[in-house]
């Protein structure tokens, strides 16, 4: 009975206007971000780039959960490292540790 009514209703709606069968009230989305890198390990400290580098991990023991200060840096060669690791590295040798090209920063993670 009621089903019949509904059917009729729906037919009407469909025909006349684009009134919906369903309305979406709200969407609770969950997304995950990660650095857009080819290799997910920093070749200098051997820690995943998603984690803070070794040095920062050691220091942040003091001020509990710090902000994500330990960002990723990409070179022109498209190799990526922790920014902290790389800034120490270039003091010794201004080349990418993976491909030996002259190091210049293409972009920084934020």
């Amino acid at each position: 009975m009621s089903g019949e009514d509904c059917d009729v209703d729906r037919g009407d709606n469909d025909g006349q206007k684009s009134d919906k069968m369903f309305t979406l009230k709200k969407w609770n989305a969950v997304a995950m971000w990660s650095w857009d890198v080819e290799c997910d390990t920093c070749a200098i400290c051997r820690v995943q780039v998603m984690d803070a580098c070794l040095r920062c991990q050691g220091e942040s023991k003091k001020d509990s959960y710090g902000k994500q200060d330990c960002v990723v840096v990409w070179g022109e060669c498209n190799h990526s490292f922790h920014f902290c690791c790389m800034s120490l590295w270039v003091k010794q040798n201004n080349r990418c540790p993976l491909c030996q090209q002259e190091w210049s920063i293409q972009r920084m993670g934020k």
Partner: protein, 786 residues
């Protein structure tokens, strides 16, 4: 006034006068002031006499006089009584004390009379204290009054000891000891008590001036004989107590006896003797009966822990036993008590855990039992054993044994981490109003239990998963509580342990901020998502979420907000990649085709599926699946709840029409929108009940999930151990096997208890990888290869 100049002095005459006064002084008779002054000058005159100082002669004469005087006193003291009999009431002690009082005071005065001699003549010869104590063999031997002159006061004391005490020694000792023995049972009247005390202290005073072993005479005459007599008495006393009553009776009276004995010693003996008196008593009355005491420990502990009628009494018994055994602790007397205390707590704990309980409340039962155990025994041990370290240690050991007790099947991992994590999860989830404080207390309790859990890393995995679920689905009761719990765990286990938990927590706070900014961005640009939109952006690596980022072609309604947000996110951050976790997203739909409006909340794929029926009433399952691009096993998982709720109907041709087998064969059937859908409630939740099964959820996903958990943990542990090994070896370069194992175990203890076999495997692996080598020429030493 006489002149101070040296002059000729007639020794005989002067000494005769002096001697008379000396006799008066020593006998405590009245000496006139004028006479005293004259004699004082006489001493001076003799000492500085011309042509020859007469000091030595004066000294010798004085000595002779005193010897004679003391001999006279000896006769007086000895009286007529036979010395051999040790009757302390025969008056000898009284006479001795009277003579001593008189003589000691007299000699003190005499010392002042001779002060010029003492100062000018004797001091010069005197050997320094340091020489007496540390000096050469010649001076180190006991100072002999013949070879060396003493100050006159000291001389008097030495003569007293030699002339009077030596002959009376055994008589005095016998009387003192018997008087003390009697004083133990019948307190003497004040006068005789006074006499006894003075007699005893005279043996101290006589040698008080000596630098070396000033108490030697006291020890020889009083203390040693007394102690040997006393220990006989104590032994008999204790044996009788044991013979006539049970152990409680014995302990009670022995303790009282100890008090009595110390009081007696304090009253009559020298203050330095308290320890000796106590030790003597303990040796004779307690140490001799240790086996009898130890035999009862188990029963006493058991009865003290039952809530039986005698529990209180047993507690006082144990208190006494501890008081008795504690002084003998260094001889190991406490060890059996500690061991029994440990065994009792462990036994009790196992019994508590084994008590029957509802199956789905295993976690509550577990934590409550452990807290009850810990609380009960902390209180008991604190009260009975003064909270002594040894017993706290025993309790800790027992608790950790019980907490980590393996399940009955051999080799099964302890369920403690899982149960505890479930307990915390239940407390932190949203619940009825109030009870905040209560939950807080319970969480603090959970930390108490947590400290005993060995496999803290396993706990962390369970906890992290539960936390992820709470945060993503917004099930937390309060964010403050979540944070404070993470901080508690951090306090217990350190930064490393809670690092990921913190990051998860931070992501949620950052996300709230991000949503606000996104909404503002939309307003500023006159954009709209057409639908309510809330997003959580999580950082990869911190969340224990099963991989599957299922590709999904979202319906148009979802695509728009997704695109808008992606654009916004890309503009806000750089170098980041965003992936949608559709299986965790939820949508809220409102039905328009039913008589009543239903609010349906469902996962994104489910929403997408429902939205497919916007234009058609039924469609072949295969087609639907392809349009949603849901992978093999994800399809039935998402469709199943829709069928169960009755929103969709599976029907169809041939095989796969029945809902049961429809799971597997869904693609072959047809799905139809149930236009007659009705439900008692207007809100229908399809969300997370079944969807997160792939995450190895705590409840249903049981066996396989747990198996994965263990192997996963094992891998993590191996990594952890290898890292620890390399760190240690890098620092130490060369290390023996046993020391290395010890160091690793102590480093790992914070998060788990590694087995030696596993450490060995890790060492082998590191040798293979050429981080370490066995030091050449040794069997058990490793060295680090840089």
């Amino acid at each position: 006034m006489m002149s101070l100049k040296p002059r000729n002095v007639d020794f005989q005459e002067t000494w005769a006068n002096l001697k008379e006064t000396v006799a008066g002084v020593v006998g405590l008779r009245a000496v006139e002031r004028a006479v005293w002054n004259t004699r004082f000058s006489d001493v001076y005159a003799l000492c500085v006499a011309h042509p020859e100082p007469l000091a030595d002669r004066l000294y010798d004469e004085t000595r002779n006089f005193l010897e004679e005087h003391v001999s006279g006193l000896l006769q007086r003291v000895r009286g007529t009584a036979p010395l051999e009999n040790n009757d302390h009431n025969d008056g000898l002690l009284t006479r001795y004390v009277t003579a001593w009082r008189e003589y000691s005071q007299g000699v003190a005065y005499l010392n002042s009379l001779y002060s010029y001699l003492n100062l000018q003549h004797i001091k010069r010869q005197k050997v320094s204290d340091a020489e007496i104590i540390y000096g050469s063999a010649a001076t180190a031997c006991s100072p002999d009054q013949d070879s060396r002159q003493l100050e006159v006061g000291e001389l008097g004391l030495v003569i007293w000891e030699r002339v009077l005490i030596t002959p009376l020694a055994s008589a005095l000792t016998g009387r003192i000891v018997s008087a003390l023995s009697e004083a133990r049972s019948h307190p003497p009247d004040p006068t005789s008590a006074d006499i006894l005390r003075q007699a005893i202290h005279s043996t101290v005073d006589v040698q008080a001036f000596r630098v070396r072993a000033p108490l030697a005479l006291y020890q020889q005459l009083v203390l040693e004989p007394y102690l040997s007599a006393a220990s006989g008495h104590h032994a008999q006393f204790a044996a009788e107590l044991l013979h006539h009553g049970d152990i409680s009776h014995y302990m009670k009276h022995v303790l009282e006896g100890l008090e009595r004995e110390i009081a007696l010693g304090g009253r009559f003996l020298h203050a330095s003797s308290t320890e000796a008196v106590r030790a003597c008593y303990e040796r004779a009355a307690v140490a001799a009966h240790l086996p009898a005491l130890h035999a009862e420990t188990e029963r006493l502990l058991r009865e003290a822990c039952d809530d039986g009628p005698r529990a209180d009494q047993r507690r006082s018994d144990l208190k006494r036993m501890y008081a008795l055994l504690k002084p003998l602790a260094c001889a190991g007397a406490l060890r059996p008590l500690v061991e029994q205390a440990h065994a009792q707590a462990a036994r009790d704990g196992r019994a508590l855990l084994a008590a029957p309980h509802a199956r789905d409340e295993a976690h509550i039962h577990f934590v409550n039992s452990m807290l009850a155990l810990h609380g009960k025994y902390s209180k008991l041990f604190g009260e009975v054993f003064d909270g002594a370290q040894a017993f706290i240690g025993a309790l800790d050991k027992a608790c950790s044994e019980v907490v980590n007790g393996r399940a009955a099947e051999a080799g099964a991992a302890s369920r403690a981490p899982e149960l505890l994590a479930r307990y915390c999860d239940a407390l932190l989830r949203r619940r009825g109003a109030g009870a905040e404080q209560e939950a807080d207390d319970k969480l603090a309790g959970a930390i108490v239990v947590f400290k005993y859990v060995c496999d803290k890393d396993v706990f962390q995995k369970y906890y992290a998963r539960a936390l992820a679920r709470r945060l993503i689905h917004q099930l937390s009761a309060s964010m403050e509580q979540e944070e404070s719990m993470i901080n508690r765990l951090k306090a217990a286990c350190g930064y490393e342990f809670t690092n990921k938990l913190h990051r998860m927590f931070t992501d949620v706070t950052v996300s709230a901020d991000l949503n606000a900014k996104f909404q503002q961005h939309l307003r500023e640009n006159n954009l709209s998502t057409n639908t309510g939109f809330f997003i959580q952006v999580l950082q990869a690596g911190a969340w224990p979420l099963g991989g599957a980022m299922a590709p999904l072609a979202p319906p148009a309604q979802l695509e728009r907000p997704a695109r808008l947000f992606e654009a916004f996110y890309r503009a806000s951050f750089s170098g980041r990649r965003l992936a949608w976790l559709h299986h965790l997203c939820t949508g809220e739909l409102r039905t328009r085709y039913t008589t009543r409006v239903y609010h349906i909340s469902a996962t994104t794929p489910q929403c997408a599926l429902l939205l497919c029926f916007e234009t058609v009433d039924s469609a072949p399952a295969r087609e639907l699946r392809e349009s949603l691009q849901l992978a093999g096993d994800a399809w039935p998982r998402h469709v199943r709840p829709l069928l169960d709720a009755g929103l969709l109907l599976a029907s169809g041709d041939g095989e796969g029409s029945a809902p049961d087998s429809g799971d597997d064969d869904g693609p072959h059937g047809t799905l139809t929108l149930n236009l007659n859908f009705s439900c008692k409630r207007t809100k229908v939740r399809l969300t997370c009940a079944n969807a997160p099964a792939q995450q190895g959820g705590s409840g249903g996903g049981g066996a396989s999930g747990e198996g994965n958990e263990v192997t996963h943990c094992d891998d993590d542990r191996k990594m952890y151990l290898q890292a620890a090994l390399v760190r240690i070896m890098k620092q130490r370069k060369v290390l023996r096997h046993t020391e290395l194992i010890q160091e690793v175990v102590s480093q790992a203890r914070g998060s788990f208890a590694p087995s030696v076999a596993m450490i060995k495997k890790c060492i082998e692996a590191l040798i293979d990888k050429q981080y370490l080598e066995r030091a050449p020429g040794t069997l058990d030493t490793y060295s680090y290869l840089a």
